[in-house]
């Protein structure tokens, strides 16, 4: 009898632990990057008088949002460098070559978060940004994050603007020339989950 009661207590404890664990894991909502309603674009100064705009057409990613404990949220984005598009085919071909993105050697640009901090209207996400074979720690301010339910599909959206220097990522200084060293990256992305 005593043996049976201790078995029951143990079973209850295991069950309670499993429920607790499953509750904790379900607190984070996992979203897939929605390529149809998202864009990753950039602009760089031309001769310091105007801006050249471009975008990357092949992007994927995943983010999990833990609304109870935002520090446990994670963000990950992968951009295929071959998909660079500046509305000029010859320039795109040039940008794919080793003087610029070197897409055969460095096929992706990646961001992986390492820490997340909630701020008013969004999150401050610090992570490893890898481009052109060089990884630097950067902090992105991601505005948005409210969930919308449309026809049973839950969506969350973020807007990001981040300035970076190409020279910090091992781009050839001689290839910078009349295109400014500084580039502005603009990410407007939606994440979806059923």
């Amino acid at each position: 009898m005593r043996y049976l009661s201790s078995l029951c207590v143990m079973t209850f404890m295991i069950a309670a632990f499993m429920c607790f664990s499953s509750n904790r894991s379900s607190a984070a909502d996992v979203y897939d990057y929605d390529p149809v309603h998202s864009s990753v674009s950039f602009k760089a100064r031309h001769l310091d008088i105007s801006w050249i705009h471009g975008r990357f057409n092949d992007v994927s990613g995943k983010f999990s949002l833990d609304r109870e404990d935002p520090s446990k949220s994670t963000f990950q984005l992968t951009i295929k460098t071959d998909s660079v598009d500046t509305a000029n085919q010859a320039r795109d071909e040039h940008l794919r070559q080793p003087d610029y993105f070197d897409t055969k050697q460095y096929p992706t640009i990646e961001f992986k978060s390492t820490s997340v901090k909630p701020i008013t209207g969004g999150y401050e996400v610090t992570g490893d940004f890898t481009m052109h074979g060089t990884t630097n720690k950067i902090t992105l301010v991601m505005m948005g994050g409210e969930e919308h339910d449309f026809k049973g599909v839950k969506r969350v959206a973020f807007s990001i603007e981040h300035a970076l220097k190409r020279s910090d990522y091992g781009f050839d200084k001689k290839a910078i020339g009349p295109i400014g060293d500084k580039a502005l990256i603009m990410i407007d992305c939606e994440g979806v989950r059923k």
């Binding site: 031309h46 001769l47 050249i52 000029n88 010859a90 320039r91 071909e93 040039h94 070559q97 080793p98 003087d99 070197d102 897409t103 055969k104 050697q105 096929p107 074979g133 091992g170 050839d172 200084k173 001689k174 290839a175 020339g177 009349p178 295109i179």
Partner: protein, 313 residues
């Protein structure tokens, strides 16, 4: 961005350093046997290249980050070392060729290291495709190398290494016109150092007992490896076509035309000139074609910001 004045400076410095070293080495040892000539050539080309690249201020990464870094910081120095060892007289010839073939097998793999081509079928090629390309490339390199060496032994002279210089220069210009400026610029010190070392070695060999015989496998080795490396990078990382790359790699083999019976016993100067002329024909065709592509595709992107500087966009 293309900087013609810097290219001229780099070319001049590489050529002067190579030539001065060759002459200095010949003064140090007047006997100039084959080992010493080989050692002199290796040293002259090595220092010529180093000086040329220093002036050119090519931004090379260590550890190497891309194919051009690997060519200039691993492959060319290893090729120089290989020729240095192979050129020492007590070393049997087969050992030298074993080293050269090992290098020929390793070069394509080293150049493609870490690229999409070897990352698996998701992004690049299947394992079989990658293996086939590596084997074909290595065989091609070894074949060109051995055929030119054979020809150089049958009828030595300036023309074989100079034909390689012509091909390297054309490869550099084609790679540059296809949009890979740094890759194309890398050819400049190679051509200058090799040409200067070849001419100096030729002039020095006139002094010796060998007459016009120019027996310096170093010149061929570095020339073939540099040519192959540039074209391979231009094809797989830049935007030059397979046809252009193969034409420029195989063009120096046209030197063999002068081995035809009615040309073979002509004067060495005539044979040398004919060889360079034969090699130049496909190279000129490729250059004209590359220029046409450049005018059509890349030229509209260029802005001339000063008399000597072209900058993109």
């Amino acid at each position: 961005m293309p900087e013609p004045l810097l290219y001229v400076k780099s070319m001049g410095v590489a050529a002067i350093v190579s030539a001065i070293l060759m002459l200095t080495m010949s003064l140090v040892s007047k006997t100039a046997n084959a080992t010493w000539r080989s050692f002199s050539c290796t040293l002259a080309i090595g220092f010529g290249l180093a000086a040329g690249y220093h002036v050119l201020s090519l931004q090379l990464a260590w550890p190497p980050a891309n194919a051009l870094d690997r060519l200039l910081t691993i492959i060319v120095p290893v090729a120089l070392g290989t020729e240095l060892i192979a050129g020492v007289r007590p070393v049997p010839r087969w050992v030298g060729w074993l080293l050269r073939i090992t290098l020929a097998v390793a070069i394509p793999r080293i150049l493609l290291h870490g690229s999409v081509y070897l990352s698996g079928p998701d992004d690049g090629w299947t394992r079989w495709q990658a293996a086939a390309l590596l084997v074909v490339s290595s065989v091609l390199l070894a074949a060109v190398w051995s055929l030119l060496s054979w020809l150089s032994q049958r009828s030595p002279g300036f023309s074989v290494p100079l034909s390689l210089c012509l091909s390297i220069q054309s490869a550099g210009m084609t790679v540059m016109m296809a949009g890979y400026i740094k890759g194309g610029a890398a050819a400049i010190p190679m051509v200058a150092a090799l040409s200067a070392a070849t001419i100096a070695a030729g002039l020095l060999s006139k002094r010796g007992e060998t007459g016009l015989k120019l027996d310096a496998p170093v010149l061929l080795g570095i020339g073939v490896v540099s040519l192959f490396g540039l074209l391979f990078i231009g094809r797989f990382f830049g935007r030059i076509s397979t046809t252009f790359a193969l034409t420029m790699l195989l063009a120096p083999l046209l030197c063999w035309v002068t081995e035809l019976p009615w040309l073979r016993h002509r004067k060495p100067a005539l044979v040398g000139s004919l060889r360079l002329a034969f090699v130049s024909i496909p190279l000129i065709v490729v250059l004209l074609w590359a220029k046409r592509n450049f005018d059509r595709e890349m030229s509209p992107l260029l802005v001339q910001t000063s008399a000597f500087t072209l900058q993109t966009y």
